[in-house]
Symmetry: C2
Subunit: 368 residues, 2 copies
């Protein structure tokens, strides 16, 4: 892979997935995804913890409501299946059945395991006990003492890493819980789900692909994990590059944010423009362009309408529609007086501001 | 096109081009491009002027050295060919011959026109006169008075728009010159070329595709123009959406910036990280993570090494290599005193800063 052995990067762009007929309702092969990944050979759980910190930061910042981050480790799942007596070749299919607990009752899941997939009922019952558990550091410690699970070297390795992860996450002031996870990754696995009540947006159209085709649950907005085997598959010499990453379901997040805004009758701002340079009379295009250039040169995000003689009303309407907060209005009187009429779009208040003070005034009014 | 009739957008991403065997030396089908475009029905030359303003801003900001922006209009070229007696069906091929004036002498260009492409020698001589002209507003006005060229309605329309464009560009305090342009666009055409002397970087690998496959000249770093016909080609009803845009040859710009940096032995900063949280002794990973989280939460771009016990020297070396300007060093003494040793990587100066003042100190030292 171009000899790159470590990299930390993010990416917001279109990605593509193999289409899965069972999942086609509203899910497209091409969709936007926001990914963050850390590749490289590092000490255990440090980059993994940073990925979770970033998911937490993003979801908190976006103000989507309450959410919960669930973590697990592939090795704990595998070890759990092993000690419950699931044959190796059935791990994968059991995993996908267990994952249906989000949408099905335990009885139905057990029925699928036993009657469709041929698992012994006692094995299914043992699995049922484990997958009902939830908790943090306390649960990891309890499971490490579990007489059955502690027999599995794999499970112990996974649980030890989980404990380490919880320690780092406490330093980052994050709370996560150990929970049933997704079959995909080689080590740590995580998923963030919204837990708020209230109107839940439309079906998850664009669940992040990296979290696995089967990973859709109503409130899922992010997922990820460790995929130490993937890069090596594409390296001619099979050289491994350990990776851990996270995907934010950005289209999903957008639809939630938009629905929230609609519900609150709040206008979604579709522009970063701070000020519209408008004219109150005809034949002031050149004056508008000159002022816009002055503002641009001072780092202000300004816009003008690309019309020679736009109506003042349509200039103001454009600001209302797109959420531009300020309008700098030029008229003959203003030009004569060396001022600009600065209008607050929301309150409709207007004050004359001298040209020399305009940049500072706009900056102070549009500080985030 | 999804019923979008106006949009203003930029895009820095991979684009693809049909490969042209004559141009394959170092040019790839997949390359990065930075595009800015304005689509929509607007009054003449206003969005066009904004595109040029943006090219000028970008190239000035990047500090690539002197550059020149050349503009022209497809209709002036077509009109010029018409009044010089070039048959309609030969416009395209003449245009590409004329474009070779960057690399060939006028004699060779004339030879190709006359002997290879069958143009009358007098027609070629007339073209030669026009294409040797350069200038701004003055030239546009002179050409509008030109007894021959003013016979062409097309040329007059193009020249009138050019004059209008020059007026807007003067308001933006830009200087451009009317010059021979590229065969591609429907109206205004422009190209930015570096004019600095000194070491010219490697062959233009990644000239922007939008400026036309033939548009490569040694110093060309940006190009664009009006393409009012393109969107309609893809609309089922043939509805036209006028567009004007510009492409920055971003890979080209990168290689210039890198070469300049190498020449000046200046290190190219490959990260935005403001501070590295480092430890001077063993077993301080958790303290490093805690401090990093504090800094992140205050909006500081901080990094830690993903190792339990990295050597101080390797932490400092990483900062030197990637251009991180500051290191916040934690040791047992610092933790006891409630301070951090803040090290300036370049000067190697170290001062103790109290934890409560650390964020402000880092912010004040890393202000751009």
């Amino acid at each position: 892979m171009n000899k790159i052995t470590n990299i930390k990067r993010y990416h917001i762009a279109k990605v593509y997935r193999r289409d899965n007929p069972a999942m086609t309702r509203g899910r497209y092969r091409e969709f936007y995804q926001c990914d963050f990944d850390i590749a490289g050979q590092y000490d255990p759980m440090i980059p993994d913890a940073e990925c979770l910190k970033i998911v937490h930061e993003i979801l908190s910042e976006l103000d989507l409501g309450d959410f919960r981050i669930k973590v697990n480790d592939r090795r704990i799942l595998d070890g759990m299946f092993a000690v419950c007596g699931v044959p190796d070749e059935k791990f994968c299919t059991m995993c996908s059945t267990v994952d249906k607990l989000d949408k099905m009752s335990w009885e139905d899941v057990k029925n699928e395991m036993v009657n469709e997939k041929g698992l012994a009922p006692e094995a299914a019952d043992q699995i049922g006990e484990y997958v009902s558990l939830q908790g943090g550091m306390d649960l990891a410690e309890k499971l490490l003492q579990d007489p059955r699970l502690s027999q599995s070297k794999q499970a112990c390795a996974g649980l030890t890493d989980m404990k380490q992860l919880f320690i780092y996450l406490q330093l980052f002031r994050l709370t996560t819980s150990l929970a049933r996870g997704l079959d995909y990754y080689t080590g740590v696995i995580y998923e963030a789900v919204l837990t708020q009540s209230g109107p839940v947006p439309a079906p998850p159209q664009e669940q992040n692909g990296a979290a696995g085709e089967e990973a859709v649950s109503v409130g899922s907005v992010a997922g990820g994990g460790r995929y130490d085997g993937l890069v090596g598959m594409f390296d001619p010499k099979g050289q491994k590059v350990p990776c851990v990453g996270v995907s934010i379901g950005i289209e999903r997040v957008f639809s939630i944010v938009e629905q929230k805004a609609e519900a609150s009758a709040e206008r979604v701002r579709t522009t970063e423009t701070q000020v519209m340079v408008a004219s109150a009379q005809k034949d002031l295009l050149e004056e508008r362009l000159k002022l816009a250039a002055e503002l641009w040169d001072s780092g202000i995000k300004a816009e003008v309408m690309y019309k020679k003689n736009p109506k003042l009303l349509s200039q103001l309407q454009h600001c209302e529609d797109s959420g531009i907060p300020l309008v700098a209005i030029l008229g003959e009187q203003e030009l004569k007086d060396g001022v600009v009429k600065l209008r607050n779009v929301a309150s409709r208040e207007e004050v004359d501001v001298s040209r020399v003070e305009l940049v500072d005034e706009i900056k102070s009014r549009t500080l985030q």
